[in-house]
Every structure is written in C-alpha cells, then in structure tokens.
Amino acid sequence: MKYLIQLLLFVTVSSCNFFDREINLEIPEHTPRIVVNAIVEAGGDELRLAITRSLGMRDTSSFSEPIPNPEILVTVNGQNYTEFQLDTANHYVTPATIQTGDRIELEVRATNMETVFSETVVPAAPLIRDVKLGGTVYDFGGSEKREISFVIQDIPSEENFYLVKFIQERDDFPNYFGSRGIGIDSPITWLNYVFSGLAFTDAVFRNGEATVTI
C-alpha cells in the first residue's frame, strides 16, 4: 500500500505542468513586410491608406504603428497621387474623386522593406432586386436563426466578390457601424460564422441571377 501511495503521488506531482507547457520551437526570423489596408468605393472623395508592418509570431511590437515616411504612389486612371498626409488617425490621406470603374494602382516603398504593389477596379454597387424575411431554424446548439433571402443582379462577364453585412448605428460607439450580436452563417463553401460580414464570390451564381439564402 505504501508503494502504491508513493506511486500515485509521483504520478500526481509529475503531472503538474505536464498537459500544457511552453515550448521552444525554432521559427525562422521574420523580415517585416509592408502591409497596406485601404477601402475605396464609388462616390468617395479621398484615398485613405493604413500602412503598417507585419510582425513575427513572437514579436510584441504594436500592429498599429504606421510606417514612417513611406513613398506612396497611387494611380487613378493614369493620374498619379503622391502627396499623402498623415492624419490624426495615423492614416495616409490625399483628396481624390473616386467613381465606379476607376482603375486604381498602388505602390508603396519603405526603407529596408520589400516594395508592395496592388491594383483594383472600383466595382459598381450590387443591384439588390428583392429582400425577404423567411422562417426560423435552429442550429446544432439550439440557437435560433432567421432566414433572409435576397436577390442580386450579378454581372456575368466578370468575376465579382460580394460582402454581406447587417449594419446598425451603435449607440455605444459613435460613428461606428457594425453588426451587433448578429452572426451570419451560410451553406456556401466559405462557411463562416462572423460578425463582420459574409464574403463570397459569384461562383455560386448561375445565369447572372440567383437567390442566396443565409
């Protein structure tokens, strides 16, 4: 019996810190890269860029520190914009008129960092033909979900990406629009339960028009 108790004590003591512990795994040193976040939409009157850097997994620096004095070149339909000012939100901003169909090219350079390029064409807002509220279903966890159907007119000759969000103005965060406690999930391949919106491509559409139910 004495030996059995000693054995059980040994098992118990040796189990401390057994199940969850820090380990040292060699991860290659990360060379920071330029990260550019920007949103352009038709009707906009400025180009606004958040320019930050990537971090290694163990790097405890701040994500929100903007890269100082980057060289920025944005071309809108061939017209160059290079004079960006850092505003109070630490965004690089310049006035510009943005319209549907504008071709925008972006190039950002910074000292000791690899230059980044990007380009896009400002899409037209999707035409929503109809929206309907449907019935109520329950998920595996027993949570209630409301069915919403909407009909979009897609442009069949090009590849388009869509983002669906439910937006309300939030009393607690002024000037902040976002879903509040509303999650979206979908039977579409990019299944996700998110608060910030459901993204999908027009690969799910057929014949340029489809009903997507979420």
Binding site: D20, I23, V35, F63, N90, G142
Partner: protein
C-alpha cells in the same frame, strides 16, 4: 524428439500418378482442434512444400516414395509423419502447443521449413505475442501492437488508427473473418474493437498484395477469430480498470464442431457519472461506455464440408445530460458502432480443389444528437446528424493445387454498398406548432464486382512468382469504373532460408474517408466514389530481402515506392457538420500522394525471450491543385524516422515482463510564421489606444510547414500467473508512458486572440498540449 499424433482418413482412392503422390489435409491444434493458418508443411529433404490456407488446409505433390512429411508452426512442437504407399492422402495433423518456456530444440540436424513464400511485405504476429504486450487501461490491444511494426504509424497520440506507408486510416482493408470492418476504434481510438481473447491469427500485408485482395490502397489486415475448443469447454475473462471481458467456448458434438461467445464492456461511466454530478452540483452528468460482442460457430457436415457462422457487434456511446434550474432538461449524445455477420461454407471438391463460399454483412454508423425539453411547457427540440455505410457481399473462392509448379486461386466477389453520408433530422415543438424535417440526405447505392486469378508459380528451385490480376467493376449513379489491377511478386532464393523479392501492385479503392481532423475519429465520413468523385488508385513497387535464422529469428529489409491518385480532402474552411449541401460540394479532388521508404525488421517469435525491433525511414507528400497553391506538402503524419521495439522475457513459468518503446520524429503541423493587421470593420483609427476591433491575420508559408517535437514513449508490463485448483489466474500490471514523456498532441500560441488591442506588451509564446502522462493500470485475468 518427435511428438504428435496423426490421423489418416480414407476418403477415396489415393492418387499415385507418375511416381507422385498427393498429400493433403488439415493441420490443427491438438488440444482445441483449432485449425492453424500458415503452418509450414514440406517434404523432408526437399524444397517441396506449402503452407496451410486460412482454413488450415494444405495440398502438395510429392515425388518421393515413402516421403516423410514435416509440419511446423510457431508456438507448436514440430512433427514428422512417414507417408507410405498404402496411406490415404487426406490427413488430419495435430500439433501440440509448446509449453510457455519451451523453445523448439535446435540441433544441427533440425531442418527448418524452406522459404516458400513469394509474398513480400507481410508480417504474421503470433497471438501469444499480442497477449504479452503491455496493457493500457488493463487492455492488451492488437492495433497498438501493429503500430510498433515498421511502416505502420499510429497518427495521433493515444489513438489506434493505422497509417501504413503514407496511407490514411481508410486505406486499410481490415478483415474480421473475411468481412471488412469500417471503424475499429473505441473511446475515440484509445482502444480497438478487437477482444484479445478471441483472436486466432493476425496477418498484415503492406505491399505486394495478392490478387485475391482488393478495395483498399495501403494494407490488408487479415484477422481470424478463434473457432472455439472442439474438445472441451473453456471460460476465460478479465477485469481491468476500464473494462471487463468474458468468453466461453466449447464443442458441438465433440470433435465435429465448436462455438465461441465473447463479450467486453467498459464501465467508465460508473466513475464519470457520479463525479460529474458532484462537480456540477447535480446539473450535469457525463457517461461514456462501449461494448463488443462476438459469436462464432463451426461444424463439419462431412469430411468434405464445413460450415461457419460468425457475428460481431460493438457500440460506443457518450452522453451528457443537463438539467438547469429553470426546468430545462437537455441531452447531448454521440454514438457509433459496427455490426458484422458472415456465413461460410468450405468444400473440398477434390484433394486438389478447395472452395469457400461466403455471405457477409457489415454496417458502420454514427450519430450526433441534441435534444431539449422544457418541463413546464410543451416546448421541445431535437436535432440529430447521422452517417453510415452498409455492405452486403457474396464471395466465392477456389484454390486449385495443380502440381508443385502451380497453385491457382480464382474467385468472384460481389458487394452492394449503401451509403448515407449525412442525414440531418430536426424536430421542434413550440406550444401547438410542430416541425419535423429531414434534410441533407444524399444516399447512394453502389455495387461492385471483382474477379481475380492468381498463380503461385515455382519456375525453378530458386525462382518463384506470384502472378495475378484483380479486375474490379464499380457501378454508381450511372457511372462505371472498370479497373484491371495487375499484381506481380517474384522471389529468388539466395540460400535455403533467404530470398530477395520484388513486387508490383496496383490497387483501387471505391470508398473515401473524409476526415475533418486527420486523426481517424468516428466523425470521419465514409463516402463513395461517384460519377463526380473518382475512386482512389495506387501503384506500389517493393523490393525486399528476407532471411530466417535458427532460433526463430526472421529479418527483413525492404524499400518501397508508392503513388496514390484521386485523393480527396475537405476544402479549407469547411465545417463538416453544418450545412445541408452535398459533401461533394465541400471537397477538393484529384489529390496525389507519393510515399517512399526503407524498412528494417528483426523478429523473434519463439522461446523465453521474444520480440521485435523495426526501423523506418520514410517520406510522404500530398499535392492538390487548390490546396497550398498547388505546391506539394508533407502529409500530416509524415515521419522521417520511426522505431518500434517490443521485448518480452519469461522469467519463469509464472512471471514474465514485457516492454515496448516507440520513437518517431515529429509530425508535420501548420504554424503561422508572421502576422499582420487585417481590416474588419473599416480601417481602424491607429492612434486610438483604447480599443481596436481589428482582426490580426496569421500568415502561413505553406501547409504542414513545421515539425512537432519528437514522439517517444515506453510502456512496461509484468504478468504474474498462477495455476489454481479451478484453473489459472493472472495479475497483469502495466504502465503506459512509463517515463511520463510529454508528447505533443497539438501546439497553440498563447494569447491567441483573433482580435488585438493597439497597445504593445502583447506577449506570446508557443505552447504544447500533451494528453497522457504515466498511466498505471492492472487487470485480473482468469481461465478455467
């Protein structure tokens, strides 16, 4: 010293033709009457010989007048039989089991059976060695023993899945008395479904597959259930920490037939229910249990006809019941199980033609459910997701022992498959409104017909080949897949007990296993090849050198190269449980796998000291066009080096000790190498330090781009056996993970929130979760 008895049964005119006589019959255990599979039978002083088939039957031609027949089998005393001209040609040879410490007497005149097998990449493990493995939770486990063999991995810590030469757990044809089992795990894979008390023979083939087998890419695991003692009744069982088992067997008309019944049940729920109730203040109770039931009967209708019937059923069930203070009762359950049944008829058409007709049924299904009831209203809710696969099969096999140059096998195998890949059942009742709906059911019926022919051809005294063709036709939803699968093995004897071998085999698999975790869990989905999703296909080349030594040693060195095509995997981001759409819309197709390696193996099967050691050097990669940007990446369970060691030593007649040690370089995992700010709700105000509901995005250089720490573990066991007046008892004490190595189960980054605040000092470290420290266990076994 020659021991043993032989019986001669006259069933017809002896065949003595052109100076040759045919010698045929059965080899069985002298005590129990159990037929022995794989016993060596040869004519003394010659290379003429064979091995008994799955039912213990052999047939060979001898050119020797007054031949002396030698018969040997691991664990039994070899015998010699003098055959005279007047002797009839059908024999019933009984071998006496060796005592526990006995070893076959090695003398200079002892003749070992010649190397007869053209088969490559095959391992037969005596059941006694399986029973000597250290126990986990009081249970010795066959699958855990197989994971110690070269070329075989367990995948995840603690689980009993088999990953053979880079193949997944679905690519193993696991046959229980000739019928496939789809899921062989209990308790999430910690135990297998095989009760060690009922096993008779275990044979694993990893390459060079004979034409009689088909349907899986990576291995054939042939498990034979004992037939039961034909001479006397016997009962045995065990009581352990986690489970108990009991088996009973006996004769049906002594010497003509027998039966075997066995059951095993866990009682983990006896502990978990009260503990969970106490810790939750009575609100929650958690229970888990599993059971296995085996039954088998066999009977000799005549000297030529024997019939068998066997059944198996096993089930796992985990239930969580909750009752809250606001009168809501809820229950979640997760269950899975197998049912298997087979009936067989062996017939000796003549002394050179052996036939077997089998009818088989196998079913695997699992379900996950949740139901809730409000006690003070009529409101109720139920959700259930279930999935399953069911097969009905008919098989007819013929073995022609033509002459000493050719042994032919041919057969026909028909299977009707019923797949239910995923069915959602949903019921609610809210006051007077009821809903009852079923969705997501994409049931598929498929059928396949296989025909094979196989010739075991002795070209010369040194050169032997096994040539075969397995032709499979698969029909599903109007689509037909026809697959001729050549199988070739050549063996050249470099000495009396050594040979070099070369093999090539093509295999097709008409079922896929969609795994959400890669760990072979019960929630993995068995789905059929369809008109949209082609069957899997493999080609494997193997080269080997085998040598047997006196003292019961066998050694082998093998290299293999295997390609796999038409693999499937879940698309990134897919939730296998949610959604009502067809599974075929959630997957990536046309994946390719490449696996190659070197395996070294040394095995000792007899004597006081037994065991084996195996080493594997291997590499296994996958490639999908739409995963990892089309670049090849390591398979999740790709391990560069793998070592498996098993040793057993019998100190005396009552005490034996055993130990295993397994080592493997780390499994591949996907770890982010950097991270950056991503936009979630518009571009954030970077100067506001109070909050930032911004998602950080981890960037991955590639899939499975890192290696976990090496895995190694030792298990030890000690057995104390004592004869009693009523029979025999054994105390079995074991330690799993004897030096308490914290083997990695998975890694995560601490402080790994998707959302971050703009402030710094966000320290992060990589952390490891390990599952099992040292686990002592014991069990009490009895036999009478």
């Amino acid at each position: 010293m020659v021991k043993g008895i032989y019986w001669l049964i006259f069933i017809g005119n002896p065949l003595i033709l052109f100076g040759q006589q045919r010698l045929s019959g059965y080899v069985e255990d002298a005590d129990s009457g159990e037929r022995l599979f794989g016993a060596s039978v040869w004519v003394a002083g010659t290379s003429q010989g064979t091995t008994t088939n799955f039912y213990g039957y052999f047939s060979l031609l001898s050119a020797e007048e007054n031949a002396v027949l030698k018969v040997s089998y691991v664990g039994y005393e070899p015998i010699e039989i003098a055959i005279t001209d007047q002797d009839p040609f059908a024999l019933l040879i009984k071998l006496d089991p060796l005592g526990d410490l006995e070893e076959v007497t090695i003398t200079s005149s002892r003749e070992l059976p010649p190397e007869r097998q053209a088969q490559v990449s095959a391992v037969s493990i005596p059941i006694k060695q399986i029973q000597q493995l250290p126990a986990v939770g009081g249970e010795v486990d066959l699958m855990r023993g197989l994971q110690l063999l070269p070329g075989v991995q367990s995948g995840r810590e603690g689980l009993t899945g088999l990953y053979v030469r880079g193949g997944g757990p679905d690519q193993n044809l696991i046959l229980l008395d000739g019928i496939p089992l789809y899921n062989v795990s209990h308790l999430g894979g910690i135990f297998s479904v095989f009760n060690p008390d009922i096993l008779s023979d275990v044979n694993l083939i990893k390459g060079g597959f004979p034409a009689r087998y088909g349907g899986r890419l990576s291995s054939v695991l042939n498990i034979k259930v004992r037939e039961g003692n034909r001479n006397e009744t016997q009962t045995q069982g065990a009581i352990g920490l986690a489970s108990a088992r009991l088996s009973h067997e006996g004769p049906i008309t002594k010497g003509k037939g027998s039966y075997l019944l066995a059951m095993r049940r866990s009682y983990i729920d006896a502990f978990t229910r009260p503990i969970s109730r106490i810790t939750s203040g009575g609100e929650t109770s958690f229970g888990y249990t599993f059971y296995d039931l085996n039954g088998k009967i066999n009977y000799d209708l005549s000297g030529k006809d024997k019939v068998y019937a066997s059944v198996y059923t096993g089930h796992d069930r985990a239930v969580v019941n909750t009752s809250s203070s606001d009168d809501i009762k809820a229950s979640s359950n997760f269950q899975w199980g197998n049912v298997l049944a087979t009936a067989r008829w062996n017939r000796l058409v003549s002394d050179r033609i052996f036939t077997n007709l089998s009818l088989g049924y196998t079913r695997y299904n699992y379900s996950i459910g949740f139901d809730q009831e409000e006690l003070d209203t009529d409101n109720a809710f139920l959700f259930n997701y279930s999935s399953g696969i069911e097969d009905l099969s008919l098989r007819y096999d013929w073995e022609f022992y033509l002459n000493n140059k050719h042994s032919l096998r041919t057969g026909l195998h028909f299977t009707e498959h019923f797949f239910t890949p995923g069915v959602n059942l949903f019921r609610t009742q809210q006051e007077t409104v009821k809903t009852d709906t079923v969705f997501g059911s994409f049931n598929v019926n498929a059928r396949e017909l296989s025909v094979y022919v196989e010739d075991d051809w002795e070209i010369s005294k040194r050169l032997r080949m096994n040539l075969g063709l397995h032709l499979n036709g698969y029909h599903v939803n109007g689509a037909n897949y026809l697959s001729p699968q050549p199988r070739v093995t050549a063996s050249y004897m470099t000495g009396a007990r050594s040979a070099v071998k070369l093999s090539y085999a093509q295999m097709q698999q008409n079922v896929h296993l969609l795994s959400s975790s890669g760990a072979g869990l019960p929630t993995d989905l068995w789905v059929p090849a369809t008109e949209r999703t082609a069957p899997q296909f493999s080609s494997q080349i193997t080269a080997a050198y085998n040598k047997s030594f006196s003292g019961g040693y066998e050694a082998s060195a093998e290299v293999y190269y295997k390609t796999m095509d038409n693999l499937i995997a879940y698309s990134d981001g897919v939730n296998w449980l949610e959604g009502a759409e067809d599974w075929q819309d959630k997957i990536e197709r046309n994946g390719q796998g490449l696996s190659r390696g070197l395996e070294l193996f040394l095995h000792k099967k007899e004597g006081r000291f037994t065991g084996w050691i195996g080493y594997t050097l291997a590499k296994s990669d996958l490639q999908f066009e739409t995963i990892n940007e089309g670049r090849s990446f390591p398979d999740r369970f790709d391990r560069r080096h793998d070592v498996g060691l098993f040793l057993n030593y019998e100190i005396n007649k009552r005490v034996s000790v055993s130990g295993t040690w397994v080592y493997g370089t780390g499994n591949a995992i996907t770890l982010g190498q950097s991270r950056y700010m991503g936009v979630a709700e518009g571009i954030p105000n970077l100067s506001d330090q109070r909050f930032g509901f911004n998602r950080h995005v981890e960037y991955y250089e590639g899939r499975n781009n890192f290696r976990m720490r090496a895995y190694h573990r030792a298990d030890v066991g000690i057995r104390f056996t004592k004869p009693k007046k009523w029979g025999e008892r054994t105390w079995n004490l074991g330690f799993y993970n004897a030096y308490s190595r914290a083997n990695p189960f998975y890694y995560y980054w601490s402080n790994q929130s998707l959302f971050f605040f703009n402030s710094a000092d966000d320290s992060r470290s990589l952390r490891q979760i390990a599952l099992f420290p040292i686990i002592p266990s014991f069990s009490y076994e009895f036999k009478f």
